[in-house]
Symmetry: C2
DNA sequence: CGATAAATGCAACTGATTTGCAAATGCTTT
DNA sequence: AAAGCATTTGCAAATCAGTTGCATTTATCG
């Protein structure tokens, strides 16, 4: 998968290129699905540790600069994904059983399609379209249980 | 605003009419915006207390029966609103400053419009469209600060 | 009215995220 | 390259939403 250059991205955002920021951004840039903080910690660990507080702070700065998007879920765990031209805003599917989040293809979401809904002087800086339900794997498991109980 | 009958709704969902469930449902049915658990606790308090654990459990049962919808936000706080014919699925606006959630008008969201995106055998039971940004009030406050610093 | 299952309250717990502060690092200027 | 200073990071502890276990109360049915 094509992706943004780490250093260019940080420079462009006006963020200094510290080892931690480079590490977190590298993980995000190579991710195939949105990641939780826990996932990022696991994947960064190989190269010399990083504190979870640092990850939270780095993610906050990335989000503030518009480098990444944050996807909230029930269960209070947030996911993060790149918000660059290689990864335009798209819908997600959240499984309420295994609590995994996956990207849905195609259908790019444009803020402009919804801005006419705003009545006051709100400022929009993000849009999220989430389907919630049970993923294929968890449905298989459920079917298995149902069958074995008959 | 027109709204569903409390007792009919509970009966139809197969839930017994306990004082707590009636209280929580009454609050939800009269709410003008989606509510947090904290809001529900505040509004129910007038009539003789209710434990927060009970509220969580009642909301879980309402959600399982499709009586209410749950809206997740960054910051890990969930909001709840009626999911009846008087309140069809619609987009919301979340202010990341004051952390309030408001309903956006018109534009009803139909699951069917997005189901073709699913590739495997997922089951969808909810859909959320959220705009995130800064609400009118918080924008006014920000402008005020900016002006007073010049 | 009594029995029984379901609902509720309470205390304690979990897990994600945040805060305060001291130590380490990055960047600029000698 | 070293000094100076702001920024970043780590650690410990706190916060806060939401959950769990268990004892008590309530609803419903015979």
């Amino acid at each position: 998968m094509e992706h943004c250059d780490i250093h260019t991205t940080l420079e462009h955002a006006g963020l200094s290129k510290t080892s931690r920021r480079v590490a977190v951004l590298t993980v995000l840039v190579h991710a195939q699905t949105p990641l939780r903080v826990k996932d990022i910690l696991d994947r960064v660990c190989g190269e010399g540790q990083i504190n979870k507080v640092t990850v939270y702070r780095i993610l906050a700065s990335f989000k503030a600069e518009g480098i990444i998007r944050e996807i909230a879920t029930d269960h209070g765990v947030n996911f993060y994904e790149m918000a660059c031209r290689h990864n335009p805003t798209h819908p997600h599917f959240y499984c309420r059983i295994c609590r995994s989040l996956s990207c849905l293809p195609e259908q790019v979401i444009r803020e402009s399609r919804f801005e006419h809904l705003l009545t006051g002087n709100q400022t929009v800086d993000g849009i999220t379209l989430n389907l919630t339900g049970v993923c294929g794997t968890c449905n298989l498991i459920k079917d298995g249980h149902r069958r074995s109980k008959q």
